[in-house]
Symmetry: C2
Subunit: 378 residues, 2 copies
């Protein structure tokens, strides 16, 4: 179980590495080669760190910008072990990495944000129960393991409600909205007869998120909360500042702090909140990773969420989360990316394209952040 | 001489490529794998472009972040041809790329900023004569091809003066300062008996530079001029705004425009100016590439000099060069990089490390840009 050592690099032992600060020149292991892994690798490079990405074969835009790549399935034991032996810390760009993969690597190298965060966020029911245990409000919910339980849940929660698979749902997939009683019949089959939860509708005024980081020393830093607009279950726009009071922003940060501390979390987290019409907050869900609603930090802050995550997982001090500009981020989804030339011509617009091959409908191809609200010198 | 085509990528012909806009997904060929090549590759990635770096074997930090790398000497014909056939445009990160290498590639692919800019900037005498031909003031200078010509040049220009080799000098190398007559004897041997020029001292008040870009369509955009402080012949600090009048800034931009147009330049240029005590300007030298005194644009502008260069050489519209923050950039040279942990703790400080192995004295290991002057929201 001893870590494979590389004498030429003067590596610390595995036990030491769990608390050590990683020096520049160290290698970040990233599970996942999508746009988040890509932007993490770019942020690591800015700090003089190398990246080694592990992902299954396919269109992996992260692979264009990393120092090393392992193309393998997450259940290939030998590939996992070789990867873990080559890197100084492992992080993940998405919450559906198989827990078994990460548990295997955890015997060799530090995993950050950690396995608990992964396990909890992979299952909507476990996540909701975890939040409830912290006293954090969510939408009303009930477990649904079969069609009779769905009927029972609908009776308890009422309509409208949303049936969501407990696992492997993202960007609106694996979800059915139930508005009237006829919608209920067949819904269980529509989610593939998979273990699910029924969530009641929340009468919200707006959606915000907290992008926060917790360091290896327990320090916590939050960016200003963006206000988020979704379309077809996918984030469309994030805007800072959100049209909320300081009290609401502070309350959302406090709840996020509870979550981070309960998980002994290290890294960046994205927590999605509903702001209810009565001014209270309910958590929608959290993602144990950099978050789409934090992409504006690349252009509007000295330290982006990606750099903040890299700093945290390397044991570095967290950076200043202040923003120097107001910002509005629009995702470029599917054919939207075809607007790149017009967007590149627009003053104050910061264009980001992810280098993906095929602009399939619903696929996040890039984003654009418009900076404004402060006088720009010329 | 036809370009090797790749039907899978729907490549345009070589003639077409000379005027075409490169789509996202195209590959930038970068000659040189140092920190400038690295930051160009990172900027290309942001726009969904791939990078292929060509450089001799060694410590090449650019290689950590590019999609493909060719390790070869610049005079290896086959490697040059294979590289040129693989990329959609070629650029260079330093002005001492052998002209023969670039001429060879120019038969296959567009070279930007172009061969003239390279040829002129490689030779201090040719550069000074080029500037004089445009009516641009420089320090007084004279060609020195042997020891008697040095004596003659000193008699004409006076002391103090600097003897500089015409070729392959940078960061103060290949230079001898002559303060008193005894310094003159032996100076010719000190520069290696290489073809040189003698430059008279310029009684300057401060040094500034213009970082400007010219697009494929001839459009020109300038960043605000930084004020630069050198130590031991190496840039130490760049600060924006410079303490100069608008008239001086405009005059420097106008001179830069003359240089760009005369070279039919495409890409970013760095032009170094002396601001004389009488308020006039003299050009010190220009670099046909992104420039160390423009590194602050990474953090203080929506579009950095690196992205601006990539936009220009791809035929994209130039970006907005406005800055959102005041900035002060300090180079981290040699052992300075050891301060990384303290710098990472400093609010408003943007740390950049280049991923180089060995912090040798005089070696540029990274830089830090402090943002200030605008109110930062928290």
């Amino acid at each position: 179980m001893a870590r494979q050592t590389n004498p030429g690099r003067g590596r610390t032992s595995f036990r030491q590495s769990l608390t050590a600060v990683l020096d520049p020149g160290s290698t970040i292991g990233i599970l996942g080669g999508g746009q988040l892994g890509r932007m993490l690798a770019l942020a690591a490079a800015r700090l003089g760190l190398k990246s080694h990405i592990f992902c299954p074969p396919g269109d992996n835009p992260g692979s264009h910008v990393c120092d090393r790549i392992t193309l393998a399935e997450y259940d290939e034991t030998a590939a996992c072990e070789t990867f873990a032996a080559d890197v100084d810390v492992v992080t993940y760009e998405f919450e559906n990495v198989p827990v078994a993969c990460v548990e295997r690597m955890a015997a060799q190298v530090a995993i950050r944000p950690g396995i608990d965060a992964l396990r909890i966020s992979q299952d909507r029911l476990v996540e909701k129960n975890f939040l409830a245990g912290l006293g954090v409000a969510t939408a009303p919910f009930a477990a649904v393991d079969d069609a009779p339980m769905l009927a029972q849940a609908v009776a308890g929660i009422g309509l409208p409600a949303i049936l969501k698979t407990r696992r492997l749902g993202y960007d609106g997939r694996g979800q059915v909205t139930l508005r009237t009683p006829p919608d209920v019949s067949g819904a269980w089959e529509q989610v593939g007869a998979a273990a699910s939860i029924l969530e009641g509708f929340v009468d919200f005024e707006r959606e915000i998120s907290i992008i926060a980081a917790r360091g290896l020393d327990g320090a916590i830093t939050c960016y200003d909360p963006p206000e988020n607009i979704h379309a077809n279950g996918i984030l469309a726009v994030s805007r800072v500042p959100a049209q909320i009071t300081n009290e609401i922003a502070q309350a959302a940060m406090t709840l996020t702090t509870h979550i981070l501390n309960a998980l002994d979390y290290v890294g960046v987290i994205g927590v999605e909140f509903f702001v209810l019409k009565n001014g209270t907050l309910a958590v929608n869900e959290f993602a144990p990773r950099v978050h789409n609603s934090g992409h504006w930090t690349l252009d509007a802050c000295a330290i982006s969420q990606f750099e903040q995550h890299i700093r945290a997982i390397c044991g570095w001090p967290l950076g200043d989360a202040a923003r120097h500009s107001d910002a509005e981020m629009h995702n470029l989804i599917g054919a939207d990316a075809g607007q790149w030339a017009a967007l590149a011509s627009e003053p104050g617009a910061c264009l980001h394209l992810y280098g993906k091959d095929a602009p399939r409908p619903g696929r996040k191809m890039g984003h654009v952040t418009r900076l404004f609200g402060k006088e720009l010198h010329t």
